[in-house]
Amino acid sequence: MIQPESLVVLLVGLPLLGAILTFVYPRAATAVTAACAAGMLGAASGVAYAVMVGGGWSQDLGGWAPPLGIGWQVDGLSASLLLLTAIVGSAGAAHRAVEGLDQPFFWPLWLFLWGALNALFLGADLFNLYVALEVLALAAVALIAMAGGGALPAAWRYLLASLLGSTVYLMGVALLYGRYGALDLGLIAGALEPDLPSALGAGLICLGLLLKAAVFPLHFWLPSAHGRAPTVVSAALSALVVAAAWYLLVRLWFGPFAGLQGPGPDWLFGLIGTGAMLWGGLLALVQRRLKMLIAYSTVSQLGFGLLVIPLAVGAGAESAWRGAVVLVLAHGLAKAGLFLAAGSIARAHGHDRLDALGGMGAGVVLPWLALVLAGASLIGLPPSGGFLGKWWMLQGALAAGGWVWVAAILLGTLLTAVYVFRMLSVVIRPAAPVPPAGGGGLPGALPAFVLALLALGLGLAAPVLEHLLSGDAMTGGPA
């Protein structure tokens, strides 16, 4: 049997190798990417299976143990996000291959993005995470800019926000290194004391990550970047890149910074999350373009994920923790499906203005179907993953008596339902004439449909998810 440790190596090495190959031999790009995608789906499933069977583990790179060396850690949280990345990455690549645009540099950039995400989900070293964040940001910026025209200013804003975020993050890392002489998450977690340098360092790191995650009120760069990027890029940005920043924030908050937890920061994060939920939802309501509506929905859905910080302490913590992770997974699948479906619809119609789109008709049946299914998961209708996540989070909040957060979640869900229905009200319009095969036909919409189905079916996998995430409840993995 293959060691799970080597599967992890594959997860980082394969996309990077693929990036080189697709750059040097662009002619073989789709074949190489397909091979990488297959390999990564397999490896990520293998890693998730290994975690389910034997629990998480950590491994040292190059045989150097921390504090000198760099470590990787694998647990239920990272394994599930690795799997999400593999699924969304493959679906996006498939959609792109069907689109058939002649932009050969897309493939190496896509694979770099993928590799950086995997490195992020594995990393247990503050500086290594910084380098991975920079790879991620550069690849994302170039991918956004590929849409040309109005996407260039969006790419620029994203680049600037991202670089500012990572520099602030690095300043925090410097403070923590000066305080503890370590960069490894586990070592810092063991040594942390609530003094000024630690608090300032942790504060700067969190600030940088909040900026990168586009958390309200630092979300100014997100909607235009996600709304104007090429379709598959929007899908990856909203489903994965934002999740990566959320992941890192949560990983650090419940890992090394656990010693700084208290009612103050909990309330702060909770209020930020609630603000994001409401503000993003309201703005999604007033958007005129389909893709922009979906982009603002990301701001709002991220707010749900952030509520894990006030909820996953004390009673009901484990349930809230599980719920938040499932919510982020479900959001990733559903949001990627929404963007891909919206892309198919927009290509069929030649635009994505909500007031002028036709309903479900010949040529766009499958995309609209995907949109409906993914929308259901976003709202949280049973049996979707969104339902399961919210259910567990609510259970946690009720157990802890966090009535404020219960109200916030319900209000946010209501807003989500309203803007999703606004989007779906287009379905029942009379179908507009669509040029034959304008939307890339059936194969173009298939990835979106599969993603939407997965988001919907995620709720049925509750026992598996519970088992997968039970080993690492909030401890941030093996310390």
Binding site: L68, F127, V131, E134, A137, L138, V141, A142, A145, G149, G150, L152, P153, A155, W156, R157, L159, L160, L163, L164, T167, L170, M171, A174, Y177, G178, G181, F220
Partner: protein, 97 residues
């Protein structure tokens, strides 16, 4: 110690420049000052450690290479942005953040 304070001052200058500068090139300069401040902070810490700590040195070398790469991408993007092309919304030089 003087270098730690210097790093702090440069950090604040870079941050301020990034937020208030109008021209986009100036924002890139500010970002570079900002990262120089962080690098200085790291190496000044390494100097205080006993014995001299080479890990921050390696980190900063990596950081400098990463920083020149991001600066190059930012500049290439900026040059593309500043070309008047159709109704390209935001000409460089006048830009909201």
């Amino acid at each position: 110690m003087i270098y730690l304070v210097l790093a702090g001052v440069l950090f604040v200058i870079g941050l301020h420049g990034l937020f208030v500068a109008r021209h986009l090139l100036r924002k890139i300069l500010s970002l570079n000052v900002l990262s120089a401040a962080v690098f200085l902070f790291l190496v000044a810490l390494a100097r205080q450690a006993e014995p001299l700590d080479s890990v921050p040195h390696a980190i900063v070398l990596t950081g400098i290479v990463v920083s020149v790469s991001t600066t190059a991408v930012a500049l290439a993007l900026l040059v593309r942005l500043s070309r008047p092309r159709g109704n390209n919304a935001a000409p460089a030089g006048k830009e909201s953040r």
